[in-house]
């Protein structure tokens, strides 16, 4: 009896913690989204019993997500920003990870440390750095006017979509490069030698051997950075701060921190979480498989 309960006993405090402060809170969001609003205090009233759920607010939220609604623009924008940031991250990140994994040589450890370093510098610090650089009299504008690319300084921080995408790429790319590196580093060089021996050109070796073998790394890394990007609200707020660049996360932020209707905010959160479920499930599956492989070794 003692032995049987020993290990679950070890896990118990952690599991209880996660149930009380992770599962219950998430259910609270659902209960608020399907709840009602107190007419006098205009405070949200959560409904805990699914049988008594009030769908009025969530229908209202879904209406606003439809074309013509107030959330339609920000949703489309979020998908656009996330897609272009992801594409840029892969375009920059893949060659970097490939170079370090394949040709790092003696510099490999140094390069790895330099790649990991940004992960340990606060995200806000890194955004602050770009706010300094992109200011009207900042280095970027001075360089561009000095080289006559621009005739006069540009307001980079005044609601430019390109600035938001740049900030997203800068913020999240380190999280993509590491899984890519890990995947490329695992590829057995003998596969490449075999492909070359059998007469494949470097390009077709890359397309038919390296790329397929690094697919899990690409997908895993892409999901890893896509999930937080979809919920991002601080990056557009810091580098732009105008409604023209607001993402879906900014709508949630507004309904909780600016507006009086947390019920609608909770509704958007539920819709966002449902939208991201597929990505989350995929990522959990890859982690699960990776940890099973580790356990098997």
């Amino acid at each position: 009896m003692y032995r049987r309960w020993l290990w679950p006993g070890f896990a118990l405090p952690g599991i209880l913690w996660l149930v009380v402060l992770f599962v219950v809170p998430f259910y609270a969001v659902v209960a608020v989204a399907f709840g009602t609003v107190d007419p006098i205090l205009s405070q949200p009233v959560p409904i805990w019993n699914p049988l008594q759920w009030n769908v009025g607010w969530i229908v209202e939220v879904l209406h606003r997500f439809a074309p013509g609604g107030t959330f339609f623009g920000p949703s489309v924008r979020t998908v656009e920003y996330v897609a272009s940031s992801l594409a840029l991250c892969l375009l920059i990140g893949y060659p970097v990870a490939y170079y370090i994994a394949r040709h790092g040589g003696r510099m490999r450890s140094l390069l790895l440390v330099l790649i990991i370093l940004p992960l340990w510098i606060s995200y806000l610090m890194r955004m602050l750095a770009w706010v300094n650089l992109l200011a009207t009299d900042g280095y970027v504008n001075r360089f561009l006017t000095f080289t006559h690319v621009l005739s006069q300084p540009r307001e980079w921080l005044g609601g430019e979509p390109s600035t938001v995408v740049l900030a997203l790429v800068y913020g999240y790319i380190p999280y993509l490069i590491l899984p890519l590196f890990a995947a490329l580093d695992r590829i057995d060089r003998s596969h490449l030698e075999a492909a070359r021996d059998l007469g494949a050109s470097p390009l077709s070796t890359f397309l038919h051997v390296t790329l397929p073998l690094s697919k899990t790394g690409i997908l895993g890394g892409a999901v890893l950075i896509t999930l937080p990007m979809f919920g991002d609200y601080y990056t557009p707020n810091i580098v732009s701060g105008t409604p023209q660049t607001s993402m879906i996360g900014n709508q949630i932020d507004l309904f909780f921190h600016g507006g009086p209707q947390p019920t609608i905010g909770a509704g958007i959160t539920v819709v966002l979480a449902l939208f991201l479920t597929v990505l989350m499930a995929y990522y959990m599956w890859t982690i699960h498989r990776a940890s099973r492989d580790v356990a098997a070794v």
Binding site: F10, G14, I115, L128, A129, G231, F256, L276
Partner: protein
Amino acid sequence: MTTIAEQRPRGISTWSRASGWVRNPWGRPRFLVLITWAYIVWSIVPVLIAVQFSFNATRSRSVWQGFSTRWYWGDPVDSVWHDPTLRHAAVQSLKLASADVLIATPIGVLLAIGLARWMGWGARPSNFLMLFPFVTPEIVMGVSLLLVFTHVFTFVGAGTDAQILGHVTFSISYVVVIVRGRLFSIGRQYEEAAADLGASPTVALTRVLLPLLTPAIVASAAVVFAISLDDFVISQWLSSGGETDTVPIRIYSATRAAPLPSVNAIATVMMVLTLLSLALAFLAWRVFTREERRARAGQTKDLAVFEL
């Protein structure tokens, strides 16, 4: 490591060398070198420039006008040392990070050991639950914790207590992943040897397993300290304003108002603290695992912990 490229015979024509260098998959294509170093410069130089401007002599954060330490302690009103809001923010950040380390590390270590050894029906769903905080966007966690503290556990409310509970919630999983990695690499043979020699599970745990886990515990404590110092979203959602603002929240509100170089200064201080705690943990890990590495030279993966 010798590559094929280095073993190439000398005395072949420039053209065939150049084309071989392009075609050979083991060569070093120059455009990859350029992209890699350009990326590294791009990823680090903006931060260095931000650090540089924390030492600016004037109020500008974009025009350099000479070196000074006024934004750290010289300025009697706006320096990090004298501005009460910045000082409070630093104290609050350190308070949250310390509490987070003290609570999340033991819970996470126990959970990691439990999940690695427990083979019953509940192990799989618990494992699943532990991974969830990694994939949940922070805004979803922030919203849910805020709602639960203002509508269900109303005795907590928003503020420092809520922030600590929130930080621990997202930190536990990091501890579990780091400690579990170490548990897998240790294997069970030491515990089995202890059991064969007559040790009870508890004795085997405290006298054999815990000492072996020490490097992972130190590393996870440092990682928790670092992610707690850097956290913005959870701290902001659970903040009750003013007194409970952390350094990242200060930086966030400052970038949207008229910021002074003192914001760069406090960001620099926190960055140095984060990097120092991680460097110390890395050194500790190296010292603790020195013997093991000597035993199986060449196949270490100790950097893996810092690749999270």
